[in-house]
Amino acid sequence: MDLKKGDIPAEVRSWMGKQLFEQVPNNIVVIDRDFKVVIANDNFKTVFGDPDGRYCFEVYKGRKSVCEKCMAARTFEDGKVRVTDEVGIDKSGKPAHYVVHNAPVFNVSGEVAYVIEMSYDVTETRSLQKEYNILFERVPCYVSVINRDLKIVRANELLRRTFGETTGEYCYEVYKDRTERCTDCPAMKTFADGRSYSSRHTGVNKNGETTHYVVSTAPLSRSGGEFSHVIEMSVDVTDVHRLSEELEKEERFRRILIDNTLDALIAVDETGKVNIFNHAAERLFKVSRDDVIGKSRGRRFAPREFLDAMGEGGSSLSLPETTIKDSEGETIPVRFTGAVLRDRDAVIGGAAFFQDLRQIKQLEKDKLDNERLAAVGQTVAQLAHGIKNILTGLQGGMYVIKSGQKSGSTEKTEKGWKMLDRNVERITDLVKGFLSFSKGHTPEVQSVDPVSIASEVFNLYQDAAAQQNVTLRFQAQDDIADAYMDSEDIHTCLANLISNAIDACQTSESDSCTVTLSVQERDGTIIYEVVDTGCGMEYDIKNKVFTTFFTTKGLGGTGLGLMVTRKIVQEHGGRITVDSVPGEGSSFRIEFKRERLPQPEGQQKGEG
């Protein structure tokens, strides 16, 4: 069939007459001049319900009267087609957004008899637009649309707020304060191949501070093909960057600390799995960290006392001296500090520090040995020295005998013999005393009460003191715990000091002298003191009192007393000091640090 141009095929015309009204994807309603619905298509009915016989304002908006700015009313007046945005209410009462076309239908006399309202729902599109706009503006990162010149065409709120009005500026000026584009520009890559890119960048914020960004670019294509703009989204990750850098630094620092500390350090999580086992721990326990890290072997390394304390709900424990066993079964003395980390009642992990005491122990032992050797050396020198007086006496005896013989004086000869006798006796006493002194004697220590030893000596000398008209006093702190000492040795020391003190009182010009024996404990040190108000000693004598084998008691002393005292004190790891003022008295002080006292077994073995 031939159709002239402008003719509509009959089938199409028929379709238009009957089906177009129903099949067009719009809502169509026809109203008369009274705004009453004349006819509506099914689409319309689906949205707004059946409008038959109702007013359009009722149907569209649930109103009782004509709308104030009724577009249909104006079309009835001027016969013009109008397109408007309308917000109405659908049949379920929800607001709906429409684009409405009002078109006049003229009657034969040319008046507008009806108005056809064709509308389509744009509710979804509108809300999408709004959402996207909100997203664009309010997303907490910088979003900009840039063109192929890398100029910002549109910027979101955060970008505007941070960098000010940037539209028209180059993005590299804004973000990085650069004068030319970046070599690794992600936007250029996107422009080149239409793909999205994401990368890290470092720029400068408007305060001139270094700022780190994560930048993503994506093409903005309208129809899927050609595009002239790129959307660029940048997140300021400076804080995150700084935090992670700090974290890294902290971690490095921690690593160095853990690996370089001389103390063995072991940490476990709440299940007892080892997560830290440093080099010192490897050396101490002779265990490779690879064998323990990540394994539930934490308990193996903890001292029994620590596990017990933790079991009873403790949170930390310090043991100045305990022992551990290394993988070869060797017992090693250590100083231990352990802590359990708790979150309220729940255990979340634990850490333990071990200080290897072997070297310190060795040094301590060496020091004691050295002190003892020095004492022996001094003793030998002092022996020779002490003999000098006796030797002089013997020399004298011989000289006097010879002199008596020469001059025929029996009296002199006898005197000389007496001198020889006396000095031979003295040397005998000295040698006996010296033998007992130098015998490889090691203190036989037992746990004893330091106060009762002193009190025994005090009782022993009370009579002797009274006879010499000396007041003997005793002062004792009453809460001193037992200590490992050789009670006989300590007895000897105190007896020597008291006997010396009483002698010093004898030599004193004063006739009411006092000797005070005291015992006390200060910071783990047991202190014996013997203070007299006797004659005191000159500086030169005081200096020689322990280091010289001398006596100022003429024939009455061997000069051994203080040497023996000092030797015993040294064997007990203690020290003895003297303070003296001539004419006022002397004070001898013996100090025993508990930790240096000999142990009842073990420690003495090596010295035989």
């Binding site: 007086n389 002089t392 006496g393 020399q395 000289y399 006097v400 030169d540």
Partner: protein, 130 residues
Amino acid sequence: MGKKIMLIDDEEDVLEFLKTALEDNGYSPLIAGNANDGLSIIREQMPDLVCLDILMPGESGISLFQKLRVDPDLKKIPVILNSGLSFSRDLKHIDYLKLEDGRTIPKPDGFIEKPVNIEKFVDLVRELTS
């Protein structure tokens, strides 16, 4: 009557020894068993020489030596220090020539160490009193 030599020592036997030797050599020894008695005798007798032991109970020989050296009447008397101490080893640490008030006194005129070489002692006495 020989020159008066003051001997001070707490050891009786040493006193007897030195006294005999000095008598044999024509001196007139004076003896005292401690510094205090010694000083009284020195003031009384004004000896030609004092021989002094260092370590004695009560006042030491050093202290008496210092007293002699600062006493206007006694400072001219020659003094020999006599001791079982080693002068080179033990005494060098004691600054006994410096008094508490800062004054320095002349050193002793001689030393003898025990055991005593009696010939040397007598020679020294002779030298210091001639």
